[in-house]
């Protein structure tokens, strides 16, 4: 598609492959339905409505699309989990509660290309048989909520939503539901509780798998914004063609969001597994800031385990195993999992050698202590304890035992909670201690340089007392 031009300075990098972000920062593009229709918009909806719902699901299964929200679960298989003898209404929810630190892909779709999402949602709702769909959008996107509601009204006027869509006999209403700034609402059962008007305490699985018992105890499909947009492109290309993008078991494209200490932070839509960290950070992001060296990378949102830039990994099993340095790791779900981290939601946070690990750790533990919903004791108490211990380490007031205590707390949260928040808060702490233990221990010595002014005064006073 060579006729697409982008705003100056916003052109995609040559290694990018733009599907979802085709219209982001595009010259002459706006959020109106007129612009979207001119660009063959809603054509795939017409195609889908001419197919059987099962055929759409099969197409998505063939494509091998894996959810882009964080867990990487295959979307087509998720859709197949709705009980076959179900008599209750089915709901579709779009998870637009993008709140994983480091991730900012959905922002651009919601603000700049709302019709792509709506088209994807109508097709997905048709496939799973839902007649009501909700977009759960985070409170921090007030502008996007207005844009979406306007887009929904436009689509309804044109007959792409409402009763008897395009004469197919299929009905669908989409509503926008605004959250209220809680990270836990990104967890699908927490999101459902929040949509029901309660505190977003995640439900225990089993039995509350949303596809069987979800919103109002009815089958519910919760998909990320990016995953739903991919459905449009899967129908356009066909599942067989789509699966050729990326690498086996990691098909398609995904948006990688790079932030932190690089020359040119930003978003890049790449084929999954076709770009390595070296290409991403040096070619696409322009390398480290002047006079700095890369130190570590958080590869999939702040919940993923940190990777050292001078690490090497053994990837693969048995005879196929090969040694890879950090720089040669491709960005896909399986390789990053084998390297002990995860691809998560695609938020790459880069740290250079000017960053103290204890400071980073402290910032992250503050985030999780603030966002723990408080339902499970290990997480509610543990996240706050981790915050307090890391406060001490960061302020130069810790003893070497504190590092050990912190690690123990993390391992006592991990795997002992209802939802994945427990792991999300414990993994970064575990990994940072594991990989930067010496650095952290170095800051716990009695003569460290990181003591707060208050502490220095205290020590001065104590020394005069003795």
């Amino acid at each position: 598609m060579s006729d697409i031009t982008y705003l100056p300075g916003k052109e995609p990098h040559e290694k990018e492959h733009r599907l979802i972000f085709k219209n982001v920062d595009r010259k002459g593009w706006d959020t109106s339905i007129k612009t979207y229709l001119k660009d063959d918009g809603y054509e795939m909806l017409k195609k889908a409505l001419g197919m059987k719902p099962q055929a759409v699901i099969d197409e998505v299964k063939t494509s091998g699309l894996r959810g882009r929200g964080g867990a990487g679960f295959p979307t087509g298989i998720k859709w197949g989990f709705i009980p076959p003898k179900n008599t209750k209404p089915v709901y579709l929810i779009c998870n637009a509660d993008e709140s994983e630190p480091g991730t900012f892909k959905d922002r651009y779709i919601l603000h700049q290309d709302p019709h792509q999402l709506i088209e994807g949602m109508v097709i997905s709702a048709f496939a799973v048989g839902a007649h009501t769909a909700y977009i759960y959008i985070r409170e921090e996107f007030p502008e996007a909520a207005i844009t979406l509601e306007k887009a929904i009204a436009e689509a309804r006027k044109k007959g792409f939503l409402g009763k008897d869509i395009l004469g197919s006999g299929f009905d669908l209403e989409i509503y926008v539901h605004r959250g209220a700034a809680a990270y836990i609402c990104g967890e699908e059962t927490g999101l459902i509780e929040s949509l029901e008007g309660k505190r977003p305490y995640p439900r225990i699985k089993p039995p509350y798998f949303p596809a069987a018992i979800g919103l109002y105890m009815a089958p519910t499909i919760v998909n990320n914004v990016e995953s739903l947009c991919h459905v449009v492109h899967i129908l356009r290309m066909g599942g067989d063609e789509y699966v050729k993008l990326g690498t086996p078991r990691n098909s398609g494209t995904r948006i990688v969001c790079v932030s932190g200490d690089v020359q040119k932070p930003g978003f890049f839509e790449i084929q999954v597994g076709k770009v390595t960290f070296r290409e991403l950070l040096y070619d696409m992001c322009g390398g480290p800031k002047d006079g700095r060296k890369f130190k570590a990378v958080i590869p999939g949102g702040s919940s993923s385990k940190i990777l050292r830039c001078n690490e090497s990994f053994k990837i693969g099993r048995g005879d196929d195993a090969k040694d890879m340095t950090f720089w040669d790791l491709p960005l896909d779900f399986d390789t990053l999992a084998a390297a002990g981290s995860m691809a998560g939601s695609g938020g790459v946070i880069v740290l250079d050698d000017s960053r103290r690990m204890s400071w980073v750790l402290n910032n992250i533990t503050h985030f999780y202590a603030h966002e723990s919903c408080g339902q499970c004791t290990p997480c509610r108490e543990g996240s706050t304890w981790m915050m307090k211990v890391s406060d001490r380490i960061e302020g130069g007031q810790a003893t070497p035992d504190d590092v050990k205590t912190l690690e123990e707390i993390a391992y006592q949260i991990d795997g002992k909670t209802v939802c994945a928040f427990g792991e999300a808060s414990a993994w970064p702490v575990e990994a940072m201690i594991d990989k930067y233990r010496d650095e952290l221990l170095g800051e716990t010595s009695e003569d460290n340089n990181f003591k707060t002014l208050e502490r220095q005064e205290q020590e001065k006073f104590l020394s005069t007392v003795h």
Binding site: F104, R107, E143, E196, G197, K198, S259, G260
Partner: protein
């Protein structure tokens, strides 16, 4: 009983003269003992005012310098109409789902969630007021005290912190004269300037890490706001 302390009802207090007591952090003194059981209770038989409702006794909206910026809560026809539209988004037997949308409607118009508005939302949705209170107190997006005319929400999460959001917050406080020393991320995140025109709050990840540091001013999003740009940002709204 002479031992009872008679305090005036909250409504009849001159709001501007009352210092704010933090009511959401229970202390050891709040544990009922025979000595303090009746402490702070009002003897309504001596006054002409009606006894406060359970909600008014338990849910408080502390007065801030920003309270004057917002109209007192009242049910306008427009609010009624908008709320009915929101309720219609959900199945008839699931009206409770509209708690968040209704609270957003209220907060958008009246600046914060007051006990009266909680009562109204509960009535509107046929649910017990506690079910609204539990939502208001959980979500950081709902506030129970009035912010300033300009409410700054500065992102403090990793990428923005690396980009300099701590410095931005310090600069904003310096310009507006806000004292954040008594604020607490959990119980009292919002700090209001003495003049009532500004308030600041740390937000967790505003999802624009690539353009750090970022902040929301009321509903407007601003990216790449380093501390040096803070004066311009404020001037933009005051100009």
């Amino acid at each position: 009983m002479s031992s009872q302390i008679i305090v005036p009802r909250p409504r009849s207090i001159d709001r501007s003269k009352v210092s704010y007591v933090r009511l959401h952090s229970p202390s050891i003194r709040d544990v009922p003992t025979p000595q303090n059981l009746n402490r702070g209770q009002v003897n309504y038989s001596d006054t002409n005012e009606p006894e406060p409702t359970v909600l008014e006794k338990n849910v408080h909206s502390p007065v801030t310098a920003g309270t004057v910026n917002f109209p007192p809560f009242e049910v306008t026809p427009e609010l009624e109409k908008k709320s009915n539209q929101r309720i219609a988004q959900y199945p008839d037997d699931q009206k409770r789902s509209a708690v968040l949308p209704l609270l957003h409607e209220v907060q958008h118009r009246f600046g914060f969630i007051s006990p009266e508005s909680i009562e109204w939302v509960a009535q509107k949705l046929d649910i017990a007021p506690i079910k609204v209170v539990e939502v208001v107190t959980f979500y950081p997006g709902f506030r129970q005290k009035a912010p300033g005319k300009l409410h700054f929400r500065v992102c403090r999460t990793l990428s923005c912190a690396m980009g300099g959001s701590y410095e931005l917050m310090a600069k904003l406080c310096e310009i507006t004269g806000i004292d954040r020393s008594s604020s607490d991320a959990h119980t009292d995140p919002i700090s209001v300037s003495p003049c009532g025109n500004y308030s600041v709050e740390y937000a967790e990840c505003l999802a624009s890490c690539g353009t750090a540091p970022v902040c929301l001013v009321n509903d407007d999003f601003h990216e790449g706001v380093t501390a040096e740009k803070a004066p311009d940002l404020i001037a933009k709204y005051n100009g």
